[in-house]
């Protein structure tokens, strides 16, 4: 180590278990999420009591953020459906955004307990991103079942009825519906592959950013990390936006629209 370089260990990819509660492991990312939860809860309780019809100060800023999220979601899912999904997609956006950005606060991730960092940026832990992806895909499945019904929802993927009707018409239409059946099965697998794509995209970007931050600190500890941190602000917001907009797009594909009736 010299004056210009700060060498640090590359953060581990596996979750750092801090302690166990009744044999259940509590990871540093979980603790950080809990910290964010408490922060949201306290700010939420304080803020929701001070809402006024004529906004001012922080309320104006929050309403601007809300309107921006609302307009963005409306542009993808339409105005009618936007009100239903704003809380879930907005929560994903805010939660991922805050999780990505809060790690930039200097020293927060340097607090250690037994040599392990207490607060790890949640999105740099695969378990967080996979949890988010599972919650999102479950939400999409529930929405689709509510819109199409159980049989309608699964009928979108397993097109046995179309296969039967196709062969009833003739060999040609029957073979086409056979291909449709396979496409449907692939789509069904694709529904769950979304968990992998969503979780790996977010985790990969955020973990890589963390690793590169350590590498940059090892190369030059001054100025360059600041630039990288600014890049981190952009990446954090963009990744939250990408995750939220993907869920909005998947949602618009899961619901009944003029061109999507499930059959």
């Amino acid at each position: 180590m010299n004056f210009l370089q700060i060498k640090g260990g590359i953060p581990g990819i596996e979750p750092e278990i801090l302690f166990k509660v009744f044999g259940y492991p509590v990871a540093s990312s979980t603790l950080f999420i809990f910290f964010i939860l408490v922060m949201f809860l306290v700010l939420g309780i304080l803020f929701s009591k001070k809402l006024k019809m004529i906004p001012s100060g922080i309320q104006s800023v929050l309403e601007m953020i809300y309107e921006a999220i609302s307009d963005f979601i409306s542009s993808i899912v339409g105005k009618d459906r936007a009100d239903v999904v704003i809380p879930i997609i907005g929560s994903l956006f805010v939660y991922i955004g805050v999780s990505n950005l809060i790690g930039i606060i200097p020293g927060l991730t340097s607090i250690t307990f037994g040599g392990v960092s207490i607060f790890r940026v949640p999105t740099t832990d695969f378990n967080t991103t996979v949890g988010l992806a599972v919650a999102s895909v479950l939400f999409l499945q529930i929405v689709s079942i509510m819109d199409f019904g159980v049989l309608g929802h699964f009928g979108k993927f397993f097109k046995f009825k179309e296969l039967f009707l196709g062969f009833k018409k003739g060999i040609g239409p029957g073979l086409l519906s056979f291909i449709d059946l396979f496409v449907g099965i692939i789509e069904f697998i694709g529904e769950f592959a979304r968990i992998i794509s969503l979780s790996f995209r977010l985790f990969g970007n955020m973990y890589a950013h963390e690793v590169l931050a350590v590498v940059i600190m090892g190369a030059l500890a001054y100025a360059l990390p600041a630039v990288w941190s600014m890049m981190g602000l952009l990446v954090g917001v963009v990744q939250a936006l990408v995750f939220g907009s993907l869920i909005a797009v998947y949602y618009s594909l899961s619901i009944k629209t003029e061109g999507n009736h499930g059959h």
Partner: protein, 163 residues
């Protein structure tokens, strides 16, 4: 699962993080997205109602202005009619009053003339009566003096002659 294990997947941690996210979702829904969304909707409704009310008020104002113009126009016409009517009535009243005054004047004059005539006649009668009385008295005095002087028979015979 082996690949997942290599990137640090631990279902305990994943489940805990999933549950924590769900709690965050409910917290944000209850204390942030719900109240802010409701407030914005409420405000939008109020603004829309305000604009709608303002449009109705503007329309009503325009109607009221038109009504006001109509009323003023009608009032002007009525006022002109009343003024014209009053002028005519005034002239009529003046004319009637003049005629009445003339009439009254004539009556008063006639009455005055009649009374003057009556008074004149009464005066003449009185004068005549007084004159007759004075003549009678004078004659009486004269007769008495003549009688006193013993000239009564001459006078009586003169009067009888005349008669």
């Amino acid at each position: 699962m082996e690949i997942l294990g290599k990137i640090g997947f631990d279902w305990h941690v994943a489940l805990a993080n999933l549950v924590n996210f769900l709690i965050i979702f409910f917290v944000l829904k209850k204390f942030a997205f719900g109240p802010i969304g409701n407030m914005i909707r409420e405000r939008r409704e109020k603004i829309e109602k305000g604009i709608s009310d303002a449009q109705v008020a503007e329309k009503n104002l325009s109607v009221a202005n038109m009504q006001k113009e109509d009323i003023i126009r009608e009032a002007r016409v009525n006022a002109d009619k009343i003024v014209a009517g009053s002028t005519a009535d005034g002239k009529e009243i003046v004319k009637n009053a003049k005629a009445e005054a003339e009439n009254e004047k004539s009556n008063i004059l006639a009455s005055a003339r009649a009374e003057a005539e009556k008074a004149k006649q009464g005066g003449e009668e009185e004068v005549r009566r007084e004159a007759a009385k004075l003549v009678t008295e004078g004659v009486k005095k004269m007769v008495e003096s003549y009688v006193a002087e013993g000239k009564g028979d001459e006078i009586i015979s003169a009067m009888l002659k005349k008669a």
